[in-house]
């Protein structure tokens, strides 16, 4: 047997370092496996599941309406007349399930089982069960549509950061970056990132500010954002009609 005292400390350090890097890289999949198994433990019959989905859809629609009305109260009288025309619209959601992911790891696109027959239109926003923005519809077919996730590098959307900041959100695989935020705007780490829902006079949450930095000569902040949506946790999502 090889005596323990013969094992050099540098071997232990190298092994620990390599093992550390290896495990660090696999923390995402491990988390996903744990979530998957915990889901299996709480499995329910199909009828109960469909009832839950229906209630979730209703609950989310009501939540968004509350957010819509709260925002209305905060608006001043000068805007009430202009918003009144559009805000009479009720937020309608189309429940949908993910049927496939894009086979490339460099794309963040998924296919949904709802298409033009259910009233899905191109550019429509998609939210998860908590009402966080997941992405927008980029292609619609008769019975399916393609959703571009917020984390896709091709995803661009004007967003509001904190109280005053306005910038352009761009996906970067794991999260998102916010571009073109004026260096004079006051933003802080942890600020909520919102996107306006066109035609409804309300906003949707996307994520929060993770890191802010700026070089001396830069005109804009460099902002890293962490997203509220987690692709591995949702199976059913809602398209805003």
């Amino acid at each position: 047997m090889y005596p323990l005292y013969r094992i050099k400390s540098k071997h232990i350090i190298v092994t620990a370092l390599v093992g550390g890097i290896f495990l660090f890289s696999f923390r995402g999949p491990l988390e996903a496996v744990i979530v998957m198994f915990s889901r299996q433990l709480t499995v329910s019959p199909q009828a109960v599941l469909s009832q839950i989905y229906k209630l979730q859809e209703e609950n989310l629609s009501l939540k968004l309406q509350i957010s819509q009305y709260t925002q209305l109260e905060e608006d001043n009288k000068r805007l009430q007349e202009a918003l009144g025309f559009e805000n009479d619209k009720k937020i309608e959601l189309i429940g949908s399930e993910i049927i496939a992911f894009s086979p490339s790891d460099w794309r963040r696109q998924v296919m949904l089982n709802a298409g033009s027959t259910k009233g899905v239109s191109e550019g429509a926003f998609v939210v998860d069960q908590k009402g966080n923005l997941v992405g927008k519809i980029m292609e619609v077919k008769k019975n399916l549509s393609v959703l571009l996730l917020v984390s896709d590098p091709d995803f661009n959307l004007p967003v509001i950061v904190g109280a005053k900041g306005v910038g352009m959100l761009k996906g970067d695989f794991s999260g998102a970056k916010i571009l073109y935020i004026d260096s004079e705007d006051e933003i802080a780490s942890g600020d909520i990132i919102l996107a306006s829902l066109p035609g409804y006079g309300t906003t949707l949450k996307i994520g929060s500010v993770k890191k802010i930095q700026k070089n001396n000569n830069d005109l804009f902040w460099e902002v890293d954002a962490s997203l509220f949506m987690k692709t591995v946790y949702f199976k059913r999502i809602f398209i805003v009609k």
């Binding site: 890289s25 696999f26 995402g28 996903a32 992911f101 794309r107 590098p153 794991s174």
Partner: protein
Amino acid sequence: MKRKSIRLSILLLLLFFLDIIRPLGYSLHVEFACLGLMFIALNEKLWFTLTIGFVLGYLKDSFLPTGGCFYCLELPFLAAISCGLRSYFFLTGKKAYLFLAKSIVVTFFLTAHIIYNSLVVGFTEFSMCFSFFIQSFFCYFMMEALLDKPGFFKSSVYT
């Protein structure tokens, strides 16, 4: 030979299916179909590797709404170079260096795949590329250990 080709084709289709359903979402940065293609490039003849590479590239392109024929061009090309590298290492090297030679080919394939995709997308995220490399490298050798059994998929190119 014919039976083995059918088995490998079915395996590739299953791996492609795994890529589409992604049981762990985007937390696992692995393209299983590419791992399967690497396995074929390291075990089979050039014409078969090229055919499978082209079919796989076509399937991938057809599932991406952005269109284009990026994978139709990339995968057969990478598979052919990997096949050539394998032949070079296996014919000139010793058997003791088999794992090293395989590692070099796998590293080449993965690195070229990362660079090509980063150029196509026009965006590079270091942490994601790093995770993709480590996880794919590990998954490849795990897959090979499962598949490379005598009488199942084991090839004659090593012997």
